[in-house]
Symmetry: C2
């Protein structure tokens, strides 16, 4: 525990046991003292104005519709689920509208709907659609959603507080909020004390309620766990869920999700107990976490979908709006945050949103700065991590993500040393993400589908090496959680960005190293993606390296002869049962290429191996009786039998297709003649030509001073 940390923990001990100070309302995202400035700001600063008008529109919609508080019945996406979700949005919107306008109708709405909940809540049993995978709530099928409800509702209540008669407040607090806190902290104690994003929502719900209801007891539990020991609770979550760099172990999709309660609760702590200096806790961990969340996106704003992730998610999502606003206003004055806020097209109607909108209006925005980086995983930063290489900006940005992080708990995928590759505004070698139709009730109630386990989590669903048609750790989470990959090397110079990591435990007796680099050569305008995968074992194995691609194969060094009829599944387990084997070609010369037309240009992947192998073309869809899987295609380098295997690939983006003018240029790659010269375990040497200029690349795995040599 560092010095600051000790001070903070001490502060809590001193402050929390005494009464929480100055009980004014509102006092979370919007504060009483700042209200006049925000009220004037909604007329002065365009982004705050448009954001406020949206909130007010939502509040006015709420007023127009009869209040509906149905008895909980449906799973995710179903009617009662969506209605209770809508209700907390209405409560938050009306609370905000009341704070800004002081129009009594908005406070009355908050009062009435909360009274309607208070009249029923205690009677509701545990949610009937409970599932075994997650503990149930009372309003929703998962306690998680109940906590989200409370985090939002308590803020709306805080903002409408002064407009609700005291007697009604008493009813609401005694028959709704206090029972909710009881349900969270007692009936759902396990979730509340869990070091996990569900735990964060739970402690934020309870802690915020504690501040607003002036119940230090709640705040104590939220900060230090239900037994107040400090072994669990908010501080422990900050300590353990993030690496020192600010990476959240479940991955970026959940980092985004977890950030909201972290940031809102931290904001409340900073408001009620400023002496704690929560934003400085653990060397300013929360600011780092916000930055890492943003660095965990491609230049189109989409989060890298490592582990379970919905792929449409971008930093425009509401969680990141709150996080970015608070980060800018309360932690760091990085003007790149303003760029993100502009792209989010929204601020929270709050003290923080005011500052962001004001500074944007003042023209202070600077481009958000994406940086090549290694972000460590593990609470001590020693459990592998994620390497990100980037070249160029905006739509032209090339980006390579090497996932060498720890397992990431239950949402983790078995994708050690997976790569994701982006260019020209989107994915080139995509990750499948999660198998889930979120909120579509007819599809497994909107939750993760069985194919998330049988397909999406399996190794072969990723762009990484699969040994013996099984998955890392035989797809056993518990086993996988014991080990993590290790960083071998990371470097970022103008001409070469390179990241290298190893994994020795995913397959017993097999040592794997992957080295990916973006290399700018003089002959080409854009860098080449150079990727080297080595596996070494004392015994013989099958080694498969799939490259998932988008678009259509328009050329190859071999003649494709796809299966015409009786298409067969490639395997029977570990995701292979979901693959159709469309074709298979031997590559006797151990070198070849595939050219894919994607969008308005081409990608040629030249590939070579340390010994002859085959190329399998596969597509997703076998053994999927309910058609739960999405389309997907890969070319897979496959070595049927070898102790050691090296696969080298060089991917070039080239040419241009203008479908409207019907013109095409540069359909042929400038790279040729790739071959592996030495597959030695200590160094890999390979060569190729770019427009007839020969290149020889040596990777010295054990020499950090001369890791990659280009001649």
């Amino acid at each position: 525990m560092n010095y600051l940390k000790k001070v903070v923990m001490l502060m809590f001990c001193v402050c929390c046991s005494s009464l929480i100070q100055a009980q004014v309302h509102p006092n979370i995202m919007l504060s009483q003292q700042n209200l006049p400035a925000v009220r004037s700001g909604v007329n002065s600063y365009p982004l705050l104005k448009s954001s406020y008008l949206e909130v007010k529109q939502e509040a006015d919609n709420a007023l127009k519709n009869p209040i509906s508080v149905p008895v909980p019945k449906d799973g995710g996406g179903g009617f009662t689920h969506e209605q209770h979700k809508r209700n907390y949005q209405y409560i938050l919107a009306c609370g905000t509208a009341y704070a800004i306008t002081q129009d009594a109708r908005y406070a009355a709405y908050v009062k009435n709907i909360l009274l309607a909940y208070a009249a029923q809540y205690e009677k509701w049993p545990v949610h009937p659609k409970r599932e075994n995978s997650n503990p149930p709530g009372k309003m929703f099928w998962q306690i998680l959603n109940d906590c989200v409800w409370q985090v939002n509702a308590i803020q709306g209540y805080d903002m409408a507080y002064n407009g609700i008669p005291a007697a009604d407040r008493k009813t609401i607090e005694e028959h709704l909020f206090i029972p909710i806190v009881k349900y969270i902290t007692e009936d759902s104690k396990e979730t509340f004390d869990r070091i996990h994003n569900h735990g964060t929502w739970a402690v934020a719900a309870v802690g915020l309620t504690g501040y607003v209801l002036n119940k230090p007891e709640y705040v104590q539990m939220a900060l230090k766990g239900s037994d107040k020991s400090g072994n669990t609770g908010f501080m422990k979550q900050i300590d353990e869920l993030f690496s020192p760099d600010g990476y959240y172990t479940e991955g970026f999709y959940y980092q985004r999700y977890a950030l909201l309660p972290f940031m809102i609760f931290a904001k409340a702590i900073s408001r009620y107990q400023p002496q704690v200096q929560i934003f400085k806790y653990r060397n300013g961990l929360l600011a780092k976490a916000v930055n890492i969340a943003l660095q965990g996106t491609y230049s189109n704003g989409a989060f890298f979908p490592v582990n379970d992730a919905m792929k449409d998610k971008t930093f425009e999502s509401s969680e990141l709006i709150s996080a970015v606003d608070i980060a800018y206003a309360d932690i760091s004055s990085d003007k790149g945050f303003l760029d993100v806020a502009v792209r989010q097209k929204k601020v929270i109607v709050s003290d923080a949103g005011l500052k962001v909108a004001k500074d944007i209006a003042a023209g202070l925005t600077q481009p958000f700065s994406y940086k090549p980086m290694w972000m460590s995983d593990g609470k001590n930063g020693d459990e592998g991590g994620i390497g990100i290489l980037r070249y160029g900006a905006g739509k032209k940005q090339q980006c390579l993500v090497l996932k060498a992080a720890a397992q990431g708990m239950g949402h983790g995928h078995f994708d050690r040393l997976n790569i994701l590759y982006y260019d020209n505004g989107g994915e080139v070698f995509p990750d499948y993400g999660a198998a889930r139709f979120i909120n579509i009730e007819t599809k497994g109630g909107g939750g993760y589908l069985p194919e998330n386990t049988s397909w999406a989590k399996q190794t072969v669903a990723h762009n990484t090496l699969v040994v013996d048609e099984t998955s890392d750790f035989k797809a056993n989470v518990k086993e996988a959680s014991k080990y993590h990959p290790e960083l071998v090397y990371f470097s970022n110079t103008a001409a070469i960005q390179v990241v290298s990591a190893k994994e020795n435990n995913a397959y017993p007796g097999v040592q794997m190293v992957r080295t990916s680099a973006l290399i700018k050569v003089a002959e080409l305008q854009k860098p080449l993606l150079v990727d080297v995968v080595t596996a070494a074992s004392a015994t013989s194995h099958q080694y498969d390296l799939p490259f998932w691609y988008l678009g259509n194969i328009i050329d190859a060094s071999f003649k494709i002869e796809a299966v015409k009829d009786n298409l067969k599944a490639l395997g029977s387990n570990y995701g292979y049962q979901h693959l159709w084997l469309n074709s298979q070609n031997n590559i006797p010369q151990a070198s070849g290429y595939i050219t894919v037309m994607q969008g308005q240009s081409f990608y040629t992947t030249s590939f070579a191996g340390s010994s002859p192998f085959s190329v399998k073309l596969v597509s997703i869809g076998a053994n999927d009786p309910q058609m739960n899987l999405l389309e997907g295609k890969a070319f897979m380098l496959s070595q049927a039998r070898a102790n050691n295997q090296t696969f080298v690939s060089v991917t070039e983006n080239h040419g241009n297709v203008d479908p409207i003018a019907e013109t095409t240029s540069g359909a042929k790659s400038s790279v040729s003649g790739l071959s592996v010269i030495s597959p030695d375990q200590n160094k890999t040497i390979f060569s190729f030509k770019v427009k007839e200029k020969p290149y020889t690349i040596t990777i010295n795995y054990h020499d950090k001073s001369n890791f990659i040599q280009i001649n």
Copy 2:
């Protein structure tokens, strides 16, 4: 022959035999007399300015690079193909730049490159990559491309004419243009005299050359055919290739392509022989043709891909830019053309472009007016046609296209009574278009692939009825060209738009009628797509009705159990060999539904039949050894055995998915209980409910005064 037509033909006889008047240069798209205005306009009107800067950039690129006139060698997309294409673009750009700037370097470039061609052209043999499908050129593998080259190059020459020394002009004319005309009119006489878009490019090339070189002989041949009889040539093409409504029988993709030479040559005629009043010929046919080309697009600007068509093509393509500019400047002052020009983001640097850019700058633009319409096919307008229903504007526009046109010659598909359905900015029930990777040399030289015949043209590749797993007319073009569907009914009111057509020859002994309607009911904001297909025969047949869809099926009235392994082709011929049969469900109650999530909303198609049938889920990909086919999925209503069959469907767009906010609403359709009440051949009666409100619809095929009744 109407009166005006007679006058026009007479004019030609009088004028063409005498010498063509006033030989000034330039005098086609840009005229000597208008040059001062255009020169000033490129500085005054933003759209003309940006368009000119683009042309000048191209011209400056030309100057920067050494002239390259390679000996023709490669097919479509290959190096020499693209280089000769680039050369005519350079000639045109430099000609334009010279006309505007009078900078001698541009004229010198035109001179030098044309001299380089003149030094070689006569030595070139017929193109070595000639194919049997199309007559060869000398520069390009198809004579078509040689004609396109000449149409462009002669304009560039005309504009640079005054900057090229007379002796060089003599060389260029004698050793390039005259031999080209000779090759077109003699060696390629068959193409030149063909009533077909290739013929139009040929006559335009020859006619424009005739005007510029002052050779009335050429103009005569261009207008009236190589024997000057008038049985072929430009006027005959205007007479026969378009319907009286202006629809070009090959379909919109080729209408776009054919329009350019029609419009440019017509412009030249109007300039050199204004007394002919070419734009008034055949009741202003060319103006109608431009309008129909635009009406043949969805609101995103993409042409309806009926027959062979590349699907990315929009009205932003260069051919339509010329056509729209000329149409606005010389024929019709429809201010909606300005809207299209704005979306094209470009005008031709020309007299017409000047007028368009000037009027846009003056704020005269009005929205282009899409209209529901029936456009007849056939030179007399009596060979069926295309019905277009539209509701709403912009991205919200719902659009239904019923293709009941004649065969459309060699590029025609066997898709009688096919429908295409668009909504929310894109396709809902798409047409596959053509099987072709245009200009991708590795894919069949960039031309139509074998799968264009085996798949894309076949009936089952479309959203229309297939009888006995064969195609219309057994996919025989000659047979199909003898017959055409017939319009039964078209009507367009505020609440109902309906089109109905019949086809009695595609399958001997089977009478088919299809009736499609957009019907606005009070309960819903957007209209329903109601579609009724009937087939009647004295004998028993299999009737399949596929609906090609985009997105993912998320719900159905039956339990889908997709084939897990050993996926099999559905059939062996007529496109069925390319379909994988993914699942098959019996619909014993003769009624059901399928819900597809597409983009950010849902489409539920409720369907019912006159007797029980099955639903087959199919996808594209079987028997495609070279992987030439694109992905595609359909649900197919299939009646295994019946004399008569009626299929009714009601498609509703509903709900909303916000993937960033992770919210979903309205995933269930409001339509329920669809059933066929009476499948009588004279009338179809069916009923369904919308939010519990019952509807009964009667279609009275033989009563035009009461064709569709809704109760």
